[in-house]
Amino acid sequence: MEKKRIHQDVFVGFFCLALCLLIYVLNNGLPADAAMMPKLLDGLLVVLSVLIIYHGLRKSRLSAEGQGKSLTWDDWKIPVITWGLVVVYVGLFYLIGYLPATGIMLVLLMRFMKRTSWPVILGIDVVYLLIMYFVFAKMLNVNIDNLGALGRLL
C-alpha cells in the first residue's frame, strides 16, 4: 500500500495559529480602542490559519507523489548560509564601517557563490567601493566613511 504523509501545509497552518496566539497576547493588555484593529485582524488570521490546515489535511489524503515535492534541508541549506553570511556582513558593517566590511563581504560572498576569477572579483570589489565612496560618502553625505563602532571607540 502506498504510504501517505501529512502535508507540510498542516504544520505551516499550526505555526500560523501560534503566530496568531502571539499577536493576541501582545495586544491583550491594550485599551479596547487601540487593540480593536489588531484583534480584528488576528481573528481573520485565525480563520485563514484554520483554512490552511484544512487544505493541508485534504492534500494529506493524496499519495506522496500527488502531494508534490516537500521541502528538505537541501532546499534551505545554501540560502540560509547565504543569509548567515549577510548577517555576519551587517555585524562587520556595524563594527568596522561600511567600506571595509563591504570590501571583505564582496570577496567572500563571490567566492561562496562559486566565482573563481580573482582579477574580476577584486576588480568589482575596488570599483564598487570607489563608486560607493564618492556617491554615498561624498555626494549624498551618508555617514559610511568612518570605522563603525570601532571608529567611535578609538
Binding site: Q8, D9, V12, C16, L19, I23, L26, N27, L30, P31, D33, A34, A35, M36, M37, P38, L41, D42, L44, L45, L48, S49, L51, I52, H55, L71, D75, W76, I78, P79, V80, I81, T82, W83, V86, V87, Y89, V90, F93, Y94, Y98, T102, M105, L106, L109, M110, F112, M113, K114, R115, V120, I121, I124, Y128, M132, F136, L140, V142, N143, I144
Partner: protein
C-alpha cells in the same frame, strides 16, 4: 489643464530631474533584462536613493524604472529565450522564433517601438483621465477610503500566487505589521516588545528591500549551487550586422495592432490586479484574432511581438491612474510606488490635482518622456543591454547585498533599519518557499494606517449618524465599493480561466 501641463514641462527642465529620468530609464532596462530580477525589485532598491531628491525627480525616476523594466524583460525574451520579467513571457514565443530566423534585431526594434508607443499612449490617457478621476475622489469620505483600502488589499491578495488563502494571510499579516508602533489615536505602543525603535512602526522601505532583494539573492545562491546558468544570446555575431527595424512596408502593417493594443493595455492596466503580465497575454490573443495571418503566430510573427509588447507597457501607465487618483495600487510595483509617493509627502487623491498639481503633472509628463527615451535608447542599445543577462549571478548577488545594506542604512543612518531588512529578507524567503506571496504583505503594510485610521473615523461618524448600517446605506459610492470587494474575492476564478486560456495558447504554439 494646459497651464498645468506647461508648468509640468517646466519642472522637468532641471538637471537633477533629467539625470533621474535617464538613470531610471537605463537602470530599468538593465534590471528588466536580468532574469529573476523584477520591476518590483528595481523600484524597491531605488527608493532609498531617491530620499535626497525632490518629489518630481524621485517619482520620475521610479516610474521610469517601472516602465523600462517591463520593456527590458523583452530584450532577453527575444534574444535569449529567457523572459526577464513575467510580463514578457508572451514576447518570448514569437520573439525567439524570429531570432532563430536571423531577425532578432528586427523583433527587438518592433518590441522597442511597441513598448514606447504603448507606454506613451497610456501616459497620454493618464493625463486625460486622471484629473477627472481625481475630481471624482472629492466625493469620497473616510468610509469610502476605508473600503478602497480593503478593495486594494483583496485584489492583490486574491491574485498573488497559487493559493488565495495564503495570499490573504500574507496581506492580513502585513496589516498587522502595519499596526506595530504607537497607536495614532490613543498613543499606546502596540506590539513593540519594548523596543523603542519600533514605536515609530516598521519602516516600509527596509521591509520592502528585504522581502524583494535579500530573499532574491538567497534564491540566486540556491540557483548557483544547483547549476542554473545565465542566459546565452542566440547568434550574437549575426545580430551585429542585422537591421534595427523591419522594412517600412512591413512596419506600417503593425501600426493598427499597436494602436489597438495601446488602448486595450491601458484599460487592462486600470483594472486593479490585472497588470502588465495579464495585459500582454490578452493583447497577444487579440493580435492573433485580428491578424490576417494568424497561422504565423508562434512561428515568428512580428505582429505577435508588437501586440504583447505594446500591451504590457500600456498597462504600466494604466496602473498609475487609480494609484495617483484614488491611492489604489493595481499591481505590486504600484504598491511600492504608493510607498514612494508617501515618503515624498504626496498623498493620492484630489490634492494631487489641486495643491500638488504641478508635481503631479510633471511626474505624468516625465513618465511619458521616459517611454519615448526608452524607445530611443532601446533602438540603439538593446543588443548591448542583452549582454547583462549573461553576467554570472555569483557576481551580481553580492553587489546587490551591498547595495541593499547601504540603501537601507542611508534612509536614517540607522543600523536598526538594516536589521529590519535582514529579518524581512529571511521572512520573504520563507514565505516564498511555503507558497505565501510577499506582495500582499507589502500592500498590507502600506494600507494598514490608511485602513485603520479611516475605519475608526468612519465608526465615529457613523455613531453620530445613527449607526454604521444606515450610514453605509446612505452612501452609494461605498455600496459600489463594497460590491467591488465581493467581486474581487471571486476574481481568482476569472483569472484561473484567463491563465488556462493563456497556457492553451502557449501549448498550441
Amino acid at each position: 489643464m494646459l497651464a498645468n501641463i506647461m508648468v509640468g514641462f517646466q519642472s522637468l527642465l532641471s538637471i537633477d530631474v533629467l539625470i533621474a529620468l535617464v538613470a531610471g530609464t537605463a537602470g530599468g532596462m538593465v534590471i528588466g533584462a536580468l532574469p529573476g530580477f523584477s520591476a518590483a525589485m528595481g523600484v524597491s532598491l531605488l527608493i532609498p536613493i531617491t530620499y535626497g531628491m525632490s518629489p518630481i525627480a524621485a517619482l520620475t525616476m521610479l516610474t521610469a524604472m517601472y516602465t523600462s523594466a517591463i520593456y527590458g524583460g523583452s530584450i532577453t525574451a527575444i534574444l535569449c529565450h529567457t523572459p526577464g520579467t513575467p510580463a514578457s513571457a508572451a514576447t518570448a514565443i514569437d520573439g525567439y522564433q524570429l531570432t532563430k530566423q536571423g531577425r532578432g534585431m528586427e523583433a527587438m526594434g518592433v518590441a522597442t517601438l511597441g513598448s514606447a508607443v504603448g507606454g506613451t499612449v497610456s501616459a497620454i490617457a493618464m493625463l486625460l483621465i486622471a484629473p477627472a478621476l481625481g475630481a471624482f475622489s472629492l466625493k469620497f469620505s473616510v468610509l469610502e477610503y476605508f473600503l478602497l483600502s480593503v478593495f486594494g488589499l483583496t485584489v492583490i491578495a486574491s491574485l498573488a500566487g497559487d493559493s488565495v488563502i495564503k495570499g490573504l494571510f500574507s496581506g492580513v499579516l502585513g496589516l498587522v505589521l502595519g499596526c506595530i508602533g504607537l497607536d495614532a489615536i490613543t498613543g499606546y505602543p502596540r506590539m513593540t516588545l519594548g523596543v523603542i525603535q519600533l514605536e515609530d512602526g516598521i519602516n516600509f522601505v527596509p521591509a520592502l528591500i528585504g522581502l524583494f532583494s535579500i530573499s532574491q539573492v538567497m534564491t540566486l545562491a540556491y540557483d548557483v549551487y544547483h547549476g542554473k546558468k545565465g542566459s546565452v544570446i542566440e547568434d550574437e555575431e549575426n545580430l551585429k550586422h542585422s537591421r534595427a527595424l523591419p522594412p517600412f512596408s512591413e512596419l506600417k502593417t503593425l501600426f493598427p495592432t499597436m494602436a489597438r493594443c495601446s488602448i486595450v493595455g491601458t484599460v487592462v492596466g486600470i483594472v486593479p490586479a490585472a497588470g502588465a503580465g495579464v495585459s500582454s497575454w490578452i493583447c497577444y490573443s487579440m493580435g492573433k484574432r485580428f491578424s490576417k495571418h494568424p497561422e504565423k503566430f508562434g512561428h515568428g510573427a512580428l505582429e505577435g511581438v508588437a501586440s504583447c509588447e505594446t500591451g504590457n507597457n500600456a498597462a504600466t501607465g494604466g496602473a498609475l491612474i487609480p494609484l495617483i487618483t484614488l491611492g489604489l495600487p493595481g499591481s505590486t510595483v504600484a504598491a511600492i510606488l504608493l510607498g514612494g509617493m508617501m515618503i515624498h509627502g504626496l498623498t493620492p487623491g484630489a490634492a494631487m490635482f489641486t495643491k500638488n498639481a504641478s508635481t503631479t503633472y510633471a511626474i505624468m509628463i516625465g513618465f511619458m518622456l521616459a517611454n519615448i527615451l526608452m524607445g530611443m535608447i532601446g533602438l540603439f542599445a538593446a543588443r548591448y543591454i542583452a549582454r547583462v543577462s549573461s553576467v554570472p549571478m555569483g557576481y551580481l548577488g553580492p553587489v546587490i547585498v551591498a547595495l541593499c545594506c547601504i540603501g537601507t542604512f542611508a534612509i536614517r543612518n540607522n543600523m536598526f533599519d538594516v536589521g529590519v531588512m535582514l529579518v524581512f529578507g529571511l521572512l520573504g524567503f520563507v514565505l516564498k518557499k511555503f507558497g505565501f506571496s510577499a506582495p500582499p504583505m507589502i500592500l498590507g503594510m502600506v494600507l494598514s494606517e490608511i485602513c485603520e485610521n479611516n475605519w475608526r473615523r468612519a465608526v465615529i461618524l457613523a455613531n453620530a449618524k445613527g449607526g454604521m448600517l444606515s450610514y453605509f446605506l446612505g452612501r452609494p459610492i461605498a455600496i459600489v465599493l463594497a460590491l467591488l470587494i465581493v467581486a474581487s474575492l471571486f476574481s481568482p476564478v476569472l483569472m484561473n480561466f484567463v491563465n488556462k486560456k493563456a497556457h492553451a495558447i502557449e501549448k498550441q504554439q
